[in-house]
């Protein structure tokens, strides 16, 4: 079993391999390239990511049947495949957005960290074994701690990095304790044999739920659910904006991939218990996220809280614990990632000219550069869940899943939160469109930024109108879990 490495096993980890190659190339380029041509590092990383995506799409498509590989470590199925693509896309967009971000884009280390974190995430999505899972989470988190604190001269960034590290360390520790308990009870570390092991050992329900609770703490940190969301606003505000973008999209998506797989694969027995916990967490996240976002003056903190509330909406799908639920979660993250990237893209572009993240500085952006304002309009409206944009479809699917699973009260709470969300998104748009600008010059948009923004806006629109292909992907990934 150890010796034989079949071509499918290689293809299963093709993205990881290619990313490693990219890391190597970046290292070498960082050493060889003279100071002034360091800029091309970003382009190299971007190229690497692009190539990885293309090859994965054409070569590494999983078959209809999901199978455990590498001795039960990885599970090559549609869920993993789609999330991998998602992470690659997010990383690509982040790299493009870092171009021109002064302290970051000339440094090779940054891109290495970025690529390693992406590798971690892809492994998280595919891991089917507790050990593998923990390793993947650490490979993702640690580079992110460093990236968050990358701007060493800016104490806000270091503070956010340090805070992120501390909070991560504690919660991962608790999670590890939970995992070990789980291993103790089940006797096996493989998720897919665990269910049989647990029922064989006839562990009393509450104890099992207790251990799951501890594990959920770890995932909760990763996904920034409400009881464990405290780190998010400070880190998002402090970290360099491209990193925040990456954090709020890719890392959150990875957290959800793992959460869904673990819950549905390992704990089908105590479904109703964890459904209750997740439902409560969803309700809290949505409400607290939206309500606090109302009062924010800083656009990054606003987007931070809004991303917490979006985590809450996605949790609705998880709480539904049905095939439609998982489909809605996957679709939700497709739409959410692209929209959040677009939103942060605009913030990044604006930051170069305005130099501040305060909302009132965005006054009259529509007069200064109508196209940028239009992009911001589409991004924020998609966040609010207004058709014809992706956010609307995502929200409808998530609410449908909740209603289908009988969680009608949760659906209504979600609906009310959508209204609060619409309020503060429209307030931002009002500032952009209505208030007179402080000065008249237009906001310059560099070519890479424009390209990245255009790609994300187009994806937002396509996700909102042409539903069929994406939905098919999401449905396939859901099927793979059941």
């Amino acid at each position: 079993m150890i010796g034989s490495i079949s071509p499918e096993m290689l293809l299963a980890i093709l993205p990881e391999i290619l990313l490693l190659a990219a890391v190597a190339v970046v290292f070498v380029a960082d050493l060889l390239l003279p100071e002034q041509r360091r800029g091309s590092l970003a382009w190299i990383t971007a190229a690497g990511l692009a190539i990885t995506m293309l090859l994965t799409v054409f070569l590494a498509v999983p078959g209809a049947e999901a199978e455990l590989m590498w001795g039960g470590m990885l599970r090559h199925d549609w869920l993993a495949f789609i999330f991998k693509l998602l992470f690659l896309l997010a990383a690509l967009l982040t790299t493009l957005f870092t171009i021109g971000w002064e302290p970051v884009w000339r440094k090779g280390e940054f891109y290495v960290l970025l690529l390693t974190s992406t590798i971690g995430m892809t492994l998280m999505a595919a891991s089917a074994d507790l050990i593998m899972l923990f390793l993947a989470i650490e490979t993702t988190s640690i580079p992110l701690y460093v990236m968050a604190g990358f701007m060493t001269y800016d104490d806000k960034s270091t503070e956010s990095g340090f805070k992120y590290l501390l909070f991560g360390a504690v919660t991962t520790g608790v999670m590890l304790y939970g995992l070990s308990l789980l291993y103790g009870f089940a006797g096996t570390t493989n998720l897919y044999e665990m269910a049989a092991g647990l029922s064989a050992a006839s562990i009393p329900g509450p104890v099992l739920v207790g251990t799951l609770f501890l594990i959920l703490l770890g995932f909760g940190f990763k996904v920034a659910l409400v009881p464990l969301h405290f780190w998010a606003p400070d880190v998002y505000e402090g970290a360099p904006t491209p990193v925040t973008a990456f954090l709020s999209t890719a890392s959150k998506a990875a957290g959800f991939a793992v959460l869904v797989r673990v819950l549905l694969a390992a704990f089908p027995g105590i479904l109703t218990d964890w459904q209750a916990i997740v439902a409560i967490a969803a309700a809290l996240s949505m409400t607290v996220g939206n309500v606090v976002a109302l009062t924010q003056r800083n656009i990054k903190r606003l987007l931070a809280y809004s991303s917490i509330s979006h985590a809450g909406y996605a949790l609705l799908g998880v709480a539904a614990a049905s095939q439609l639920g998982v489909t809605s979660v996957v679709y939700y993250f497709l739409a959410y990632t692209v929209t959040q990237m677009a939103a942060f893209g605009v913030v990044i572009i604006a930051w170069h000219k305005l130099g501040s993240d305060e909302i009132e500085d965005y006054a009259g952006l529509s007069r200064r550069s109508p196209m940028l304002a239009l992009a911001m309009l589409l991004a924020f409206l998609s966040l609010a869940g207004v058709p014809p944009l992706g956010g609307f479809i995502a929200k409808i699917l998530v609410f449908a899943a909740a209603v289908d699973a009988g969680l009608v009260w949760l659906a209504f709470l979600g609906v009310l939160n959508a209204i609060v969300g619409l309020y503060y998104y429209l307030i931002v748009l009002k500032v952009v469109y209505l208030y007179p600008p402080k000065d008249e010059q237009p906001v310059p948009v560099s070519r890479p930024h424009a390209a990245a923004l255009l790609v994300s806006i187009l994806l937002v629109l396509i996700l909102g109108t042409v539903l069929a292909p994406w939905y098919a992907w999401a449905a396939a990934s859901a099927a793979s879990l059941f």
Partner: protein, 491 residues
């Protein structure tokens, strides 16, 4: 029958809006002419739909159906029946006249017309879509243009508050109804959002009784039903002329129509249990709105509340659930739509020149804008339910429906609103148009443009033709209503 006509009507405005955004901002004339051309085309198409609709033909005509998301049974399925054909024409007329009236918009006309057209295609979409998902899709497309139109071009004092209030009410209504729709989708077990199929789903009585209020009130919020009505006067007053014309004229009908389409037609048992107490709300709507309109000193507020009162009549017509009431309500939707559009157009013209809407500060305007004054008087007569005009043709069957539905007391109380409406309309007309010109208005009152006269003329023409020769709209409405009754009766 021209194929794809309905899709053309729905997507023409939104595409035109997109194109508009790329026209050079400086060239106001080009932008206005382009917008006018698009609006006229939409109006033409809606006329074609209206007159090609064969009353004796099948229930739905001009049907187009394409798969959108087969996995969930979502399809882009459009078709027009007896009740929606007149409403499509109404939308066409109001968008055409609205664009003419907003020649004077000088601040960023490009964005103004773009958002207006997105709004229009949203409304067209809802009227023609036969798929529940598509209905919500188009219903909520109207959310953000409505906010931006009012917030950016509205009346300085209250535009931000009114825009936000209006959009939130509209959004609350739609999402609440959305949850209801999702519940219906799942409970039906048919796995499709197609309303024609859902009509046959005959849900359990208990399910219908639980979900009907959510769906009905979700949509009726936009129809201005009593407890949720106060966004509409604020919204109308703050909105620029064309938007308040479009909003009061068409969007409120959207709410009432959707309440009928999704609420009453898909949950008939729920309708039978809940509408008897809802009719009391509509009664309050009618009488309460009329009385408040009487005490308003602001010209636009008065018309805002008068449209609340008349919309109450529409929902009351639906609530009677019998033949007369439904026929009356459907005709009232068209008649009130045209009437309120004309009201707001004229008020807009008055405001553009007099820069005040306080009735006491206005007077003697008939000398300057006789055509607008006559048009306003005709609209006033329609609002009074004066026979010989479309108002009477619409309101009379509604009251007959009340009698037939066994609500004599409600009919008696509701009829008071007619006298009150007559009172405040006459008072306003005599003070604004016939009084003596106040000093400060001396210099700058002048007649309206010929194109604006054309717009007002078209609106008056519709009101008078429907009033004099009701059979131009009735056979169509009757066929639509019979289909609804079949559903109601059947359940």
């Amino acid at each position: 029958m021209i194929p794809y006509i309905l899709s053309a009507i729905v997507f023409l405005p939104i595409l035109a809006g997109a194109v508009l955004l790329f026209l050079p901002a400086r060239n106001r004339q080009l932008i206005y002419r382009f917008a006018l051309a698009v609006a006229f085309l939409a109006f033409l198409l809606s006329i074609v739909v209206y007159f090609n609709f064969d009353a004796a033909g099948p229930r739905y005509q001009f049907i187009e159906k394409y798969d959108w998301l087969p996995a969930l049974g979502i399809s882009y399925h459009v078709g027009v029946d007896g009740i929606t054909a007149p409403l499509v024409l109404l939308t066409g007329v109001v968008i055409f006249t609205g664009v003419i009236i907003s020649q004077r918009i000088d601040e960023r006309p490009r964005e103004f017309f773009a958002f207006l057209f997105i709004l229009a295609s949203g409304v067209f979409g809802v009227f023609v879509s036969l798929d529940l998902f598509a209905l919500f899709f188009f219903y909520e497309i109207a959310v953000f243009p409505m906010y931006l139109l009012i917030a950016l071009w509205g009346w300085k004092q209250t535009r931000e508050y009114a825009a936000m209030k209006l959009t939130l009410y509209l959004f609350i209504g739609s999402v609440v109804a959305l949850v209801g729709a999702l519940a219906m989708y799942f409970a039906s077990g048919l796995g499709t959002f197609d309303m024609l199929a859902l009509e046959g789903a005959n849900f359990s009585a208990e399910f219908q009784n639980f979900w009907f209020p959510f769906v009905f009130f979700g949509f009726a919020v936009l129809g201005g039903i009593f407890p949720f009505h106060n966004w509409s006067p604020d919204g109308h007053v703050a909105a620029p002329t064309a938007v308040s014309m479009f909003h009061a004229g068409v969007l409120m009908k959207l709410g009432a129509f959707a309440a009928l389409r999704v609420g009453i037609m898909l949950l008939p048992i729920g309708a039978h249990t809940h509408l008897p107490w809802i009719i009391i709300l509509t009664l309050v709507n009618v009488v309460y709105g009329a009385f408040i309109a009487m005490v308003q000193t602001d010209f636009k507020y008065m018309i805002g509340f008068s449209s609340v009162s008349h919309m109450g009549l529409v929902t009351m017509g639906f609530a009677t659930l019998n033949y007369n009431g439904l026929v009356g309500a459907s005709v009232q939707m068209v008649s009130h739509g045209v009437m309120t559009a004309l009201f707001f157009a004229v008020v807009g013209m008055v405001y553009d020149q007099a820069h005040t809407r306080e009735i006491p500060k206005l007077g003697g305007l008939i000398r300057f804008m006789p055509f607008a004054a006559v048009a306003f008087i005709i609209a006033g007569l329609v609002s009074m339910g004066m026979p010989g005009f479309s108002g009477f043709i619409a309101e009379f069957p509604i009251f007959m429906g009340l009698w037939a539905g066994g609500y004599p007391l409600i009919a008696i109380l509701a009829i008071i609103s007619i006298a009150v409406t007559a009172a405040y309309i006459l008072r306003a007309v005599s003070r604004v148009f016939f009084g003596d010109l106040p000093a400060e208005l001396e210099g700058h009152m002048h007649d309206i443009r010929p194109s604006e006269k054309l717009a007002l003329g078209v609106l008056c023409l519709i009101m008078i033709t429907v009033g004099v020769y009701p059979n131009i709209i009735l056979p169509m409405v009757q066929s639509g209503v019979n289909a609804v009754l079949a559903l109601l009766g059947g359940a």
